[in-house]
């Protein structure tokens, strides 16, 4: 066998040969080609890729449901879907996007791929458990698809009682089973990350040298482990009431429907932080790499992840202001909700301070990072508006709420997901992609997103309720704008699929450290070999140890 040499000219994009570099031949991607080598792998990097495929599929299914809804909402009459069909569309959209895309998105793909690389380990603490959690996830996803084929559910992703326990005709129990199973996957993943971060850090990788992404994944894992069981039990209670007439939520049997909301939001408010904390971690990495400076206030940024995880457990009642909760409880929850904004604010200010006078390059990862910061700020500030007891009475259950959480979960987390994809893609596949296309996609995503969701703030403020497809004609203009934006956004999301796939074959080899960034993951070859490090590294310097070169100093 003739040994292939490294390509002589890395920047030569005209060389479109199929040549594999030496590093590629030794990488995890070539360590076995059979299906079995993928489906029974215990390599965290391959499991990350398995997750990437799974969640991409769910993102598309959830997106298709959204496209149906936006199409239906073009006119004020409900002429595309039936009432029942519309209810089922938004339920499946929510269930899939929350549990089968957002929650696993960053932790299970980039967390899986990067945490061992970033802390200088050869794998996660429990590699078999890691693979098992993928299979559990796929099983749960299979259940969800079955629910979809069997006719769907109409309760919304929140499964509120008494609708879900007494009146709904859909497949409530089946859908609850699907989410229940997915919960086990979350718990196992969280457990795995916690043990890994505690036990497998390489020599010198002290807690105050951990990359901020690892801090964020660690905080997320705490929430996953502590909150998910409550959701699982709650769903079991719904099933028990529907199937056996157990009196938990039904007042006739001595239950209380509001108890459901307490239990559900005790999980689900922390769960919104499961969705956004990993994104905050990604953005800290993107900002540091773009500014080429040490992160301003490293300890505060790391600590704020933990603070968010903890305080996030004390605010759930802000979802129940108009549900009949005690006025005093509402006042307390309103106040506590304001407190949770503080650590998020710390992060945003510290990013700004990190960027200040930095030597900023406008590469695609940074554009996605900026997209995140802008949209997250709008989403977070409108969250504060909603947390004001008096304001929420006016806008509760309107499109204002829909816009609020989409700014954070889509504008924020999904943008950070794409940012991570563009930043670590050269590490994952070993090839570079065309930067121009990366920039264009980022810009289209930003524009498409705002066109889709900004009108929804206005709609909600004017009184358009959420979860209706028949509406007063004066709202039509804003709905049309929103649907137009959604088409742009949908196309923009498809763009990376094309050029990233293209790059796997035709992109130039990336080299170990294409962004010239700090961090152990960049000391490995791209793509990394199966066991990550030939020798376990030793860390002897602080994180983000960039040599500071200020703007303007070198002319």
């Amino acid at each position: 066998m003739t040994a292939l040499q490294e390509r002589p000219e890395q920047a030569d994009r005209h060389d479109r040969g199929l040549s594999e570099t030496d590093t590629e031949r030794q990488s995890y991607l070539r360590a076995g080609h059979s299906l079995g080598s993928w489906f029974f792998t215990r390599d965290h990097k391959r499991i990350a890729i398995l997750y990437l495929f799974a969640i991409t599929a769910f993102f598309m299914i959830g997106g298709a449901a959204a496209a149906l809804m936006r199409l239906d909402l073009l006119t004020s009459a409900g002429d595309l879907l039936t009432n029942e069909g519309y209810n089922r569309a938004f339920t499946i959209h929510g269930v899939i996007m929350v549990w089968f895309f957002l929650i696993p998105s960053i932790p299970n793909t980039f967390g899986n791929f990067l945490v061992p690389l970033m802390i200088g380990a050869r794998d996660l603490a429990f590699p078999r458990l890691n693979l098992l959690s993928w299979y559990i996830f796929v099983l749960a996803g299979g259940f969800t698809l079955f629910v979809l084929i069997a006719g769907g559910v109409d309760t919304g992703w929140t499964f509120y009682t008494p609708l879900s326990s007494m009146f709904s005709h859909g497949n409530v129990v089946l859908a609850a089973v699907a989410v229940f199973i997915a919960g086990f996957s979350s718990i196992l993943t969280g457990l795995n990350f916690i043990v890994t971060v505690h036990k497998l850090r390489c020599p010198g990788m002290t807690w105050d040298r951990l990359p901020l992404f690892v801090w964020a994944i660690y905080a997320t894992s705490l929430i996953l482990v502590l909150a998910t069981p409550v959701l699982s039990i709650t769903l079991v209670l719904i099933a028990a009431e529907r199937l056996f007439g157990l009196g938990i939520f039904d007042p006739k049997l001595g239950g209380d429907p509001l108890l459901y909301q307490h239990l559900f939001w005790f999980y689900s408010h922390p769960a919104v932080y499961i969705m956004v904390l990993p994104a905050l971690g990604v953005v800290s990495e993107l900002v540091a790499a773009a500014a080429r400076k040490p992160v301003f206030g490293y300890k505060f940024v790391a600590g704020s992840s933990i603070a968010i995880a903890v305080i996030g457990f004390f605010v759930w009642g802000h979802h129940m202001f108009v549900a009949g909760q005690s006025m005093y409880a509402s006042a307390v929850f309103s106040f506590l909700s304001l407190a949770v904004a503080v650590p998020s604010g710390i992060k945003v200010y510290n990013w700004a301070a990190t960027l200040y006078k930095g030597h900023i390059s406008l590469d695609p990862p940074f554009l996605y990072g900026m997209t995140f910061i802008g949209l997250f700020v709008v989403g977070g500030l409108t969250g504060l508006m909603l947390a004001m007891l008096a304001v929420d009475v006016h806008v509760h259950d309107t499109y204002f709420v829909v816009a609020h959480f989409h700014y954070i979960m889509v504008g924020g987390t999904v943008s950070a997901f794409f940012g991570a994809l563009h930043y670590w893609w050269p590490k994952i596949v070993g090839r570079t992609y065309p930067l121009v296309w990366g920039r264009l996609a980022a810009i289209f995503i930003f524009l498409g997103f705002n066109l889709t969701f900004f009108p929804q703030f206005l709609l909600g403020y004017l009184g358009m309720p959420r979860r209706y497809h028949v509406y007063a004609p004066e709202f039509q203009m804003l709905h049309v704008l929103s649907s137009a934006g959604a088409s742009l956004l949908g196309l923009a999301y498809l763009m990376p699929l094309v050029y990233l796939t293209w790059s796997m074959r035709y992109g130039a080899p990336a080299g170990d450290n294409p962004w010239d960034a700090t961090g152990l993951e960049w000391t490995t070859p791209s793509p990394p070999p199966k066991h990550n490090f030939d020798e376990i590294p030793v860390v002897d310097r602080p994180p983000y140890d960039y040599e500071i070169e200020m703007e303007g100093e070198d002319g």
Partner: protein, 87 residues
């Protein structure tokens, strides 16, 4: 060997407590029944924590960490009660 014996012993204790729960549910009604069955459940989970989850073999820090989950549940109970009692 001694470990196995104690596991079997704990299992018997759990079965006995289960029988007690069932009996109590037939004999007692209302708040008294609730209090008794919650008390029994508390004892059962204590046994499981201590023996089956091996906390009797662990050091202080691990025991405290295990209590953390209980502390988290207290948040849930405290705030839900705060709502119910002031409605």
């Amino acid at each position: 060997m001694q470990k196995t014996v104690s596991f079997v012993f704990v299992w018997f204790a759990l079965v006995l407590l289960l029988a007690a729960t069932v009996t109590a549910s037939f004999m007692l009604k209302g708040p008294a029944g609730l209090a008794v069955s919650l008390g029994i459940a508390f004892g059962k989970s204590g046994l499981i924590y201590w023996h089956y989850m091996h906390l009797n073999e662990e050091e202080g820090l691990q025991r405290i960490a295990a209590l953390g989950a209980g502390a988290w549940l207290l948040i849930l109970f405290a705030f839900v009660c705060a709502d119910y009692l002031t409605r």
